[in-house]
């Protein structure tokens, strides 16, 4: 039984297609993050799961029950919003029990729930305050509390940390993670922040233009991006994508970029399909953190590149190198000293590379 199952879901606003044939499944207790740039349809998808938006095609199942036409309040879900959406005229207590009162839960049960949740979230001292008298972090707690008292099957979070300042965001991120570890409720979480996605999710679905690009564990998303969009979206700075061709001769495969005679051997690469590789146009993907200043293992490929630009950011520095007129970024500890406009010896960790078809932009 899947806690949430979405089948062939499509949605358009007028003639604009927002979601296209979405398929998604979540197991009980998992934390799914919908990640993507703004306008990719992730919030719309969340609203559809909540029942706040109608569906054009497809179905949404919660616990194997088709809820596509069920009212939000009857879906057994709770949602936390970016702006917290606390009712301004009600105090914290009224805010938290509003839903239970609507559902005609008995007074004793309401009090019991309220006490349990407000203690758990440490907002029991704030019950008589109005939302306007709370700080950002407190509002966030109350908003989560309002969702918790309903004891939902699925928690929906719509960019809940975007309105907080950087420091508080990191704190609240940890708290949400702890919360999930303790409660083990299924979560769907929308964000555009990859750090949030990576640190919170047990699964990440990366979306772009209304299509899920990759739905996988954070490790696979990072290490084995399924296309150039995912490769480019995850990581900061993002993965270097060097354009070039494959060369296959006597069972040895190598990568050559245009106008260069450097052959990078890629025999160790785990190809999906090992045929018709010769002369194939590809992107050679390597993350800035997998380019080293010193040789770290035997397989590392040694290459001489000219340093063009240095960006110092405290604990590390990002260097830009010129590789046959293509920019290659690398991340080093800030203690390493590198002269600009000079050739520098670098080492590519070839066990960490990704290769993409240059036309289809998909992993090969």
């Amino acid at each position: 039984m899947k806690t949430l199952k979405i089948e062939e879901l499509s949605k358009n606003f007028g003639s604009t297609e927002v979601l296209r044939k979405i398929n998604l499944e979540i197991d009980e207790g998992n934390f799914l993050v919908l990640l993507g740039p703004s306008g990719c349809g992730k919030s719309t998808l969340l609203n559809i799961i909540a029942g706040l938006e109608t569906i054009n095609e497809g179905n949404v199942h919660i616990d194997d029950y088709n809820v596509s036409k069920v009212e939000p309040k009857d879906r057994n879900i709770a949602m936390v919003f970016q702006s917290y959406a606390l009712y301004p005229s009600m105090n914290v207590r009224e805010n938290m029990i509003f839903g239970l009162k609507q559902a005609k839960v008995s007074k004793e049960k309401i009090e019991e729930q309220l006490e349990k949740v407000s203690k758990f979230l440490q907002v029991d001292a704030l019950l008589e305050r109005k939302p306007s008298q709370l700080s950002g972090g407190q509002r966030q707690r109350v908003a989560i509390g309002r969702a918790l008292v309903r004891e939902p099957r699925i928690f929906l979070f719509d960019e809940p940390l975007s309105n907080l300042d950087a420091k508080l965001r990191v704190e609240m991120r940890r708290e949400i993670k702890k919360l999930h570890q303790q409660l083990k409720t299924t979560v769907v979480y929308v964000t555009h922040d990859q750090t949030e996605a990576m640190s919170l999710g047990t699964n990440i679905a990366i979306m772009n233009h209304g299509v899920i690009q990759q739905n996988d564990t954070p490790e696979n998303i990072y290490n084995k991006p399924s296309n150039t969009f995912v490769a480019d979206f995850i990581g900061s700075p993002s993965m270097n994508l060097i354009k070039g061709n494959l060369k296959e001769s006597s069972n040895k495969v190598s990568f050559v970029t245009h106008g260069s005679n450097i052959e990078i051997p890629i025999n160790g690469y785990d190809f999906k399909e090992k045929s018709n590789l010769d002369n194939k146009e590809v992107f050679f993907g390597i993350r800035p953190e997998h380019i080293f200043f010193k040789k770290s293992n035997e397989e590392d490929f040694e290459i001489n590149l000219r340093a063009d630009l240095s960006e110092y950011i405290g604990h590390e520095q990002i260097m830009t190198f010129n590789f046959e007129n293509q920019e290659v970024l690398a991340k080093f500890p800030s203690t390493v000293k590198i002269d600009l406009s000079k050739n520098t010896k670098l080492f590519f960790d070839l066990t960490q590379i990704s290769l993409f078809d240059a036309k289809k932009e998909e992993r090969i």
Partner: protein, 300 residues
């Protein structure tokens, strides 16, 4: 070299100090002139209403009255006590109250509902509905006189306070809707979504969540509508006469139909009485008016 620049800076500083001082006093001077200009008519009205006719004939407009004589106020409000031809404001004042209270209430309430629907329950073609309502704001009073007279006739409520309530409510809806729509646009729609998940319906969301935070815009709308309806003369004089007339029409009749001598003191007192309710509304709700016009966003 150093000294020279130093002294020239000092000179410049002095100069700018004098310029500022002069400009400051000039500003006060202009402001005082304007203040006098605006207060002058009110002064003349109040002073004249407190004089006897004898004093008015002998003195000038600006002469101080000999004492606090409220006779003309009593005459304006309650009449002289003899029968025919005696027009006084009291019954018409209550006519106006009976007209203005329901008209303000209904137009504000309907405007709030319409604003709520247009912002939080979007439907196909809602932009057109709003556009037409906006268009309603620009229709001049005169343009609707004939069709409205016909409508009131058909409904059988011409020359009645109820008819005037209907006219003012209908004419006010475009404005009140515009006010409330612009206010509710600034309230995050996530509030409505949260309430829907919590199980609140259309009316519950409106009354429990949106209306309690709408005080500033309700006050703005009430002041606007109250002033418009209370001060209206055209609709009042067109759609009512005699007993059913609102106060502005009665005021006009009183001032214009004096048979013998023009009683300026009574005229002035009547005009002030007719203007007092709007003043009271402004004084009571004025601070909300400014706040409601300038702010709007309710951060939750």
């Amino acid at each position: 070299m150093q000294d020279k620049t130093h002294s020239s800076y000092k000179q410049l500083e002095q100069k700018s100090k004098y310029t500022n001082l002069f400009l400051r006093w000039f500003l006060y001077f202009v402001l005082v002139i304007f203040a006098l200009y605006f207060i002058f008519p009110l002064y003349v009205m109040v002073v004249t209403s407190l004089k006897t006719m004898e004093e008015i004939r002998q003195g000038t407009l600006l002469t101080w009255p000999s004492g606090l004589n409220f006779d003309s106020w009593l005459v304006a409000w309650g009449g002289r006590g003899y029968g025919a031809g005696d027009t006084f404001l009291k019954p018409y004042f209550w006519n106006s109250i009976k007209m203005v209270v329901p008209a303000v209430f209904f137009s504000t309430f309907i405007g709030a509902m319409a604003g709520y629907v247009l912002t939080k329950w979007r439907f196909k073609g809602d932009k057109w509905v709003f556009l037409f309502l906006l268009f309603g704001c620009f229709i001049p009073y005169q343009a609707i006189l004939l069709p409205m007279a016909r409508t009131l006739g058909v409904l059988g409520i011409s020359n009645s306070v109820i008819g005037l309530v209907l006219v003012h409510t209908v004419y006010g809806i475009p404005f009140t809707t515009l006010f409330f729509r612009n206010f509710y646009v600034s309230i995050p729609s996530e509030l409505v979504k949260a309430a829907r998940i919590d199980g609140a319906g259309f009316f519950k969301i409106f009354f429990k969540i949106l209306l309690p935070v709408s005080t500033p815009i309700i006050v703005v709308t009430i002041i606007w509508q109250f002033t418009q309806i209370w001060n209206d003369f055209l609709f009042g004089s067109t759609f009512s006469f005699g007993e059913a007339a609102p106060i502005q029409v009665a005021l006009n009749n009183m001032v214009l139909s004096s048979t013998s001598v023009k009683e300026y003191n009574v005229d002035m007192a009547s005009a002030i009485i007719a203007g007092i309710p709007t003043l009271i509304v402004y004084v009571l709700a004025g601070k909300y008016f400014i706040r409601g016009l300038t702010s709007g966003a309710v951060k939750g």
